[in-house]
């Protein structure tokens, strides 16, 4: 045992005045009794019976000296050297990635890691500080540069591992910053390995505390659909990341019904690929691995996929003939283009409605179709004069003339113009269109060239010039613009969710025109609700792997708008074998051994001891001073009597 502040031991000299005071104090209280005959006898017996009786007289003094000793030693701050993996101030990087949820150690790796960190907190020497960083998808500083063990324990208690890959680069940046605040810092990485190879070196001495024992893990490493001529096809890959061949039961459910189940043998370090032809109307696919005791990580044993179904948007192109438009729409994905001439009647039946109408240099029918519209080179409505002095009050727009001073003056900041280069576009002449509900996106000296807006719950875009009157169709800007416009007019699905979404990836949700709220039902059946406002709706709570169902709420109630799947599909996380060492740059971080010496301070125990002894002393002292002291008169009387007797 050593002392941090041994000078305080000099306070032990206070024992001398205490003993002196005690000797002064110990003059016993004189008390008169009628006779000491019985007392003398009693004392003889007691001393014969209990030889420690003499010691008892000094019990109070002993207790007081004990209190003093305890307090003085506590002030000198003794500590016991304990073997510890780190000493001094320390920055702890606690791995909170998905692989830490592996159950190869009881109850799981993260709990064991927390226990390890708790030991480090207990071994934290006095005056040393600790920073605790939880390395999850977004690294988080749980406790910053504190020596308050309770605060550290509390912060540690609240930490939880997430089902996502850890962002080690960001965590290293945090740790580097934290370590610079300490004089002699050490960085302890409590992890099962799986760190990326390109991490920067750490600025301080680092130790690696490995967690976990087993390598054995099976995972669904891929699950995807694709459309073929014969119908949708499913591809699944089952990987064995362990060192032993494993058998596993693979089950496949389509829309909640078991479709296939088979027992597979996956060789060690290898994978099995499987394909299925699915029924054409399949939407949600769930795959599940089960019945293998050596599978230590449950998180990657389930996977979901959503099949788009290959449904295209129906587009009706009303034109006398426009090669540019026909070419563009034939190559845009997800579009099924139909062409008609202005003379043909538009289909009236509900089920024959198109998702998008394109009127190229054609007057709008009356009433206009109830769908999204793209109007190119708008023509006055039937019955209007060529000059068009007035339009019906309910008409979408009025064509007021032609202008040719078409040099572009202003481009609006709109996603529709993203990647569209207008600088080389020249327009010979254009229609002058007034539409109060529309925003001009491209303005020229004579008037707007491109307008967009919403009217009657539908989106309408107007290109005010004939394509043949400009060089726009010859530019690379044309297909980009068309893609942007059709994407905006006919957004298709409510959200942009490619396959292969991993936990934590935000998903953009594009509500329809009449949508007031967006609802997302998460895999744990809680519902996320967002009000549709000016801002784009971004759903970021994709932490759990599973199926997320999106609904859009409008005046008609909640409309299902499809679902998307979040899967772990991470080789780094599924490879759960603990790494024997971590390579940072050119150096390997050593695995921790208990070679370092920590300090376990003892002063709280000593202070508690002093307090308890103080209570005992108080009790001993107060044990029966019930009799009041004899009055001065009594003593005088007694003295006189004694004098008289003599």
């Amino acid at each position: 045992m050593s002392f941090l502040t041994p000078l305080f031991l000099l306070l032990g000299l206070l024992a001398v005045p205490i003993i002196l005071l005690y000797m002064l104090r110990l003059r016993r209280r004189e008390m008169l009794v009628s006779s000491t005959m019985l007392w003398q006898k009693l004392m003889r017996d007691r001393e014969a019976n209990a030889p420690w009786q003499r010691l008892r007289r000094n019990l109070l003094l002993l207790l007081q000296l004990l209190i003093l000793a305890a307090l003085v030693i506590a002030l000198a701050r003794p500590f016991l050297p304990v073997s510890s993996v780190v000493s001094g101030s320390v920055v702890i990087l606690l791995d909170g990635s998905a692989s830490m949820l592996a159950a190869d150690v009881e109850p799981d790796r993260f709990t064991i890691a927390k226990e390890q960190v708790n030991d480090l907190i207990n071994d934290l020497g006095g005056g040393n500080q600790m920073t605790l960083i939880l390395v999850g998808q977004t690294p988080q500083v749980l406790a910053s540069a504190t020596s308050d063990r309770n605060a550290l324990r509390e912060a540690l208690e609240g930490a939880a591992a997430g089902p996502a890959a850890a962002d080690w680069a960001a965590a290293f940046a945090l740790a580097t910053g934290a370590a610079q605040g300490f004089r002699e810092a050490r960085i302890a990485i409590v992890s099962d390995g799986g760190l990326p190879a390109d991490l920067p070196p750490l600025p301080a001495e680092s130790v690696y505390i490995p967690i976990g024992t087993s390598f054995e893990n099976l995972a669904i490493s891929a699950l995807a659909t694709r459309s073929t001529d014969s119908g949708p096809q499913l591809f699944a890959s089952i990987s064995n990341y362990g060192r032993l061949d494993q058998q596993v039961l693979f089950s496949l459910s389509l829309d909640g019904t078991l479709f296939d189940s088979r027992r597979l043998t996956v060789p060690a370090g290898d994978h099995s690929n499987l394909t299925w032809d699915l029924p054409p109307d399949t939407a949600v696919i769930q795959a599940q691995l089960s019945d293998n005791e050596n599978d230590n990580l449950a998180l990657d044993d389930s996977a979901w996929a959503v099949h788009e179904g290959g449904v295209s948007n129906r587009v009706l192109l009303v034109t006398e003939g426009n090669r540019f438009l026909e070419t563009v729409f034939s190559v845009l994905p997800g579009m099924e283009v139909f062409r008609t001439t202005p003379d043909a009647a538009l289909p009236a039946a509900e089920e024959d409605q198109f998702d998008l109408y394109i009127f190229d240099s054609v007057a709008l029918p009356d009433p206009p179709p109830a769908a999204d519209l793209l109007i190119i080179n708008p023509q006055p409505a039937a019955g209007e004069s060529e000059e068009g002095t007035g339009a019906p009050a309910d008409a979408a727009f009025a064509v007021t003339g032609v202008f040719s001073n078409t040099s572009i003056t202003r481009l609006a900041d709109s996603p529709l113009l993203q990647f569209v280069d207008w600088s080389n576009v020249h327009v010979r002449r254009s229609q002058s269109v007034s539409a109060p509900w529309a925003q001009p996106l491209v303005s020229s000296e004579g008037g707007p060239l491109l307008l967009t807006g919403e009217r009657g719950g539908h989106r309408i875009a107007i290109i005010t010039f004939r394509l043949q009157d400009s060089d726009l169709p010859l530019q690379i800007a044309f297909p980009v613009l068309m893609a942007n416009i059709t994407g905006w007019l006919n957004p298709g699905r409510a959200f942009d969710a490619p396959t292969g979404l991993t936990p934590g990836t935000p998903v953009n949700i594009t509500p329809g025109a009449g949508t007031t709220h967006v609802l997302v039902e998460k895999p744990d059946e809680t519902v996320w609700l967002a009000e549709v406002g000016e801002e784009a709706v971004i759903f970021a709570e994709t932490h759990q792997p599973g199926l997320y169902q999106v609904s859009l709420r409008d005046s008609n109630g909640d409309q299902p708008a499809g679902s998307f799947a979040i899967n772990l599909f991470s080789t780094a996380e599924s490879t759960i074998g603990p790494a024997p060492a971590i390579i940072l740059g050119q150096t390997a971080v050593e695995t921790a051994d208990e070679g370092d010496v920590g300090q376990r301070e003892l002063w709280p125990w000593l202070a508690a001891l002093a307090f308890i002894v103080l209570l005992v002393e108080w009790w001993v002292y107060h044990r029966g001073t019930r009799l009041p002291r004899p009055s001065r008169r009594t003593i005088q009387n007694a003295r006189q009597r004694l004098l008289r007797r003599n």
Binding site: L26, R28, R29, E30, M31, L32, V33, S34, S35, T36, M37, L38, W39, Q40, K41, L42, M43, D45, R46, R56, R57, R623, G624, T625, R626, L627, S631, T634, N637, A638, R641, L642, R644, R645
Partner: protein, 295 residues
């Protein structure tokens, strides 16, 4: 100190002291005796022998029969009553409370017993025992002496050390007329009391031992580190009084009393333990009556 009020005296006058074993009156008393004596109660005649008191000759018979006869009359005898009050300093306790003071109590008790004796025509001797010289009152008889007795008692003071053995033995040696004898003491005597009692009994005294103690001796309310000072001898005892010590003391105290009681019972001594918080008149009227010392 006023020892008695008028009412108490009246009550006491109705009582008589009773001695079972001692019947040796020398003076006319108010008790009928088996001895023939000089009272007016006729008993018998006997022949005159030389040396008989001529005053007791029945002259009427002599005139009629011309033979001398001595008239025997029934003797009415008195009782010798001895009251020995221990007046050592230890009896003057507790000195702050006159009501509980052992000496006051003993003096009052002695006064009561003496008054009973005087009222019954007994020969009463009251002695305050102390090392510096006993203070004696009497022997007197007749109730007219009560006032003087009370004056004597009121002036009684405690002083010095009393060795009960020596004091009682001396008293036994000096006594000319054994009778009923009461010892009023706390028995806190360094030399003990047994030899003294033996000496008294061997002289023919019928002994009553009134053991007077104060309540705090019975159950001492002390605690802590104290130096106990004996007010009689001046001896001190340093002791730490905790509950266990006090319990032990109480145990010892009871053993001590039981030992005295057993000794007295074997020797035919009337032993009456008294604490001074017990009313003295109730002690005389009830306890002593129950013991058969007073009727």
């Amino acid at each position: 100190m006023k020892i008695f009020d008028e009412t108490s005296l009246r009550k006491l006058e109705q009582l008589t002291l009773v001695a079972d074993r001692v019947r040796v009156g020398v003076m006319k008393g108010e008790r009928r005796s088996r001895k023939r004596g000089t009272s007016i109660e006729f008993a018998d005649y006997r022949n005159y022998t030389q040396g008989d008191d001529l005053r007791r000759l029945d002259w009427n018979v002599f005139a009629r029969l011309e033979r001398p006869f001595i008239k025997l009359l029934e003797e009415e005898e008195d009782l010798g009553v001895h009251l020995l009050v221990d007046s050592s300093l230890s009896m003057d306790w507790p000195d702050e409370d006159a009501e509980l003071n052992k000496l006051n109590y003993a003096v009052r008790l002695a006064g009561a017993l003496a008054h009973i004796g005087l009222a019954a025509g007994d020969q009463v001797t009251v002695t305050l025992l102390r090392s510096t010289g006993n203070e004696r009152w009497g022997p007197y008889r007749g109730r007219h002496n009560t006032l003087r007795l009370l004056q004597f008692l009121e002036n009684g003071r405690a002083s010095g050390i009393t060795d009960l053995n020596i004091a009682l033995r001396n008293y036994a040696l000096q006594s000319r007329r054994p009778g009923l004898l009461f010892v009023l003491s706390d028995l806190f005597s360094p030399g003990g009391y047994r030899e003294g009692l033996n000496a008294l009994q061997s002289r023919g005294y019928e002994v009553g031992l009134l053991h007077v103690l104060s309540p705090d001796e019975n159950d001492p309310p002390v605690g802590g580190d104290v130096k106990l000072v004996d007010i009689e001898t001046g001896a001190d005892a340093e002791i730490t009084l905790d509950t266990s010590t006090l319990d032990m003391y109480r145990e010892r105290f009871q053993e001590w009393q039981a030992e005295i009681s057993a000794y007295c019972q074997n020797r035919g001594v009337h032993y009456i333990p008294i604490t001074t918080d017990y009313p003295w008149d109730r002690l005389v009227m009830q306890t002593l009556r129950a013991k058969g010392l007073v009727s």
